[in-house]
């Protein structure tokens, strides 16, 4: 037995058998001095929704931070297990309600793996286009929110929302809804794009770099941003991998792992794009990852709009209604703007999934929130949380 395993068993032996109620540590330090407990949230603007943190301070420094979840819990998984495969798609819109398109894709991908359904070429390209548009608007808004958390008033957010509006208009003309798109189906997508819609995408995409240049020149060298973000909330690459961090948060720590590259799902292996990586794993790098990823998304969009073939948008063999995959299971994952979004499905041969599980990147990225905040002030907690990019609809499910 290696010393490491012995160590694990020692730890196991020390921990009393848990029964769900773990007595909270007393709010005193080693010298017996009283510590300050603060409950941040659930109705605080900086928590990006109904999220609460129990923060314990010694002087100005955070010495303990326990997130409290569940305010938005509606047991999404149970709802989907009691519904037909098709009926779960609109529910996935409401997980990460900024990125309904990518949520649809993750679920559709898992069902396609489970039932062995193919996707026509044209549908794959449309999926890439809407997913990258989703990434653009998610990252732009996230930067806006992060700046607002730093006290830059609402100006950067309004700049971001101006661009997001144009993308939501495109979603609306394609799917009929701005945010709850309910657009993808296993085996393809719901409606075809018009040549005019593609022209509008090309136009928006052509103008987007100018917005990025403007946004970057206003922010990247900004003193407030640099002062508040550099060296704050550092996450080491080892901890990032071990804690299951994903998306821009993982890559900001310098770990080269992008599901679009690793799995090459859809038609992502046909596009040339780079995976930006950070050096320091701090809030500033996480901000920069979003900026650089938007530039890569623009490149992907350019290629996808150029190369999109004509053809059907639904697999003719795909059965939407009354789909009964044979008994088995499948795990499908995609690179959503928040990180690795996975869906795990078990079929027992009936019309609704026996087990339906969402792997929420927002929740799992919060695993290391305490580690990143220890030793920092309360104002830094707000910025660090802002840089993780969470949506409570997905965290609480």
């Amino acid at each position: 037995m290696s010393p490491e395993t012995a160590n694990l068993e020692e730890i196991v032996a020390q921990v009393p058998p848990a029964r769900g109620v773990v007595e909270p540590l007393p709010p005193v330090n080693a010298e017996g001095e009283q510590l300050l407990e603060i409950s941040m949230g659930p109705h605080h603007p900086s928590t990006h929704g109904v999220f609460r943190m129990n923060v314990v301070l010694e002087g100005e420094q955070v010495v303990r931070l326990k997130p409290v979840f569940g305010y938005l819990h509606r047991n999404h998984e149970k709802i989907a297990e009691n519904a037909a495969y098709l009926a779960a798609i609109p529910y996935t819109d409401r997980l990460d309600y900024l990125c309904s398109m990518t949520n649809n894709w993750g679920y559709a991908l898992a069902v396609e793996k489970l039932a062995g359904i193919g996707v026509p070429e044209r549908a794959e390209y449309i999926r890439v286009i809407v997913a990258e548009l989703t990434r653009l608007q998610n990252h732009a808004s996230l930067i806006g929110f992060l700046m607002q958390d730093m006290g830059m008033s609402g100006t950067p957010l309004m700049y971001a929302f101006r661009e997001r509006e144009k993308i939501l208009d495109l979603f609306e003309s394609l799917s009929g809804a701005r945010m709850m798109c309910n657009y993808m189906r296993f085996g393809g997508v719901r409606v075809d794009t018009s040549a005019e819609w593609l022209r509008q995408v090309r136009e928006l995409n052509g103008e987007f770099p100018r917005f990025l240049d403007e946004f970057e020149s206003l922010l990247a060298g900004n003193e407030i941003l640099m002062g508040r973000a550099q060296g704050v909330g550092v996450l080491s690459p080892e901890l990032a991998v071990s804690s299951g961090a994903s998306g821009p948060m993982l890559r900001a720590s310098g770990v080269n792992y992008d599901v679009r590259k690793v799995d090459g799902y859809g038609v992502y292996d046909r596009f040339s794009f780079r995976v930006p990586l950070g050096d320091h794993g701090d809030v500033y790098d996480r901000y920069m990852m979003r900026v650089l990823e938007m530039r890569e998304s623009v490149k992907i969009l350019e290629q996808a709009v150029r190369d999109i073939p004509a053809g059907p948008i639904m697999d003719p063999k795909a059965r939407l209604r009354g789909l009964r995959p044979k008994a088995g299971e499948a795990y499908g994952r995609i690179e959503s703007p928040k990180g690795e979004l996975g869906f795990y499905l078990i079929s027992d041969g009936t019309g609704n999934p026996y087990r339906y599980r969402v792997r929420p990147p927002s929740l799992i990225n919060l695993t290391v929130l305490e580690d990143m905040c220890l030793g920092r002030g309360v104002a830094d907690v707000v910025v660090i949380l802002g840089s993780v990019d969470i949506v409570l609809g997905e965290v609480d499910r």
Partner: protein
């Protein structure tokens, strides 16, 4: 570019060679996804997990997903040919023999390798039954990403993870008594009947 997929049998053989006494069972998956999984025994699960993470060829350093599954008691029916005396003559009669399979709870882990860029390797652990007090070893010590996810399994399925550093309910409130993701959970007719839901003022 992409790494060759590793088969469940290869992983099973590697675990059994490295962790003496570890019983690993391959669970085949009939779905077109072809994602087969490995069932680990409780005693050696933590050691086997550590091996999966640290072995230089496997390096499954990334636990993407950890979740629970509730399997109810089921009946396995198989057709058996039995010799019987019918009208004084011995003839072969087909009979359906039913065997009861007791239900159990399961924890499923989807592992990937960030370093080697392969996966998923799926690891499962099963409890003996699905009563109130069921235990599984925690793998949070191996993959930190299991911390919140095991808490969620405990919260929604009622599996107690031995060795978890902070096993509390994640989504439901602490006073809640039942496990809502279990297949036999009956939601109360009225929200006010929820166990432990004592509301103060409106």
């Amino acid at each position: 570019m992409r790494a060759e997929p590793i088969t469940a049998e290869q992983v099973k053989a590697a675990i059994e060679a490295a962790v003496p006494g570890c019983r690993v069972q391959v669970l085949a998956n009939a779905s077109p996804s072809g994602q087969h999984s490995l069932i680990l025994d409780h005693e050696h699960a933590a050691e086997a997990a550590r091996f999966l993470r640290d072995d230089p060829t496997l390096r499954l350093d990334y636990c993407s997903n950890a979740t629970g599954v509730d399997w109810l008691d089921s009946e396995l029916s198989e057709k058996v040919k039995v010799k019987k005396l019918v009208d004084g003559a011995e003839t072969e009669v087909e009979e359906v023999r039913k065997t009861k399979v007791p239900g159990y709870l399961e924890a499923v882990y989807h592992l990937y390798s960030v370093e080697k860029k392969h996966g998923p390797v799926i690891v499962r652990m099963r409890t003996g039954d699905r009563k109130e007090d069921v235990h599984l070893p925690s793998l949070t010590g191996v993959w930190r990403s299991a911390e919140f996810q095991e808490r969620e399994i405990f919260d929604l399925y009622g599996v107690i993870f031995d060795g978890h550093p902070d096993l509390r309910r994640l989504l439901m409130w602490d006073e809640f008594k039942d496990y809502p993701m279990r297949k036999d959970y009956v939601p109360p007719a009225d929200d006010d009947d929820l166990v432990g839901a004592e509301r103060s003022g409106g």
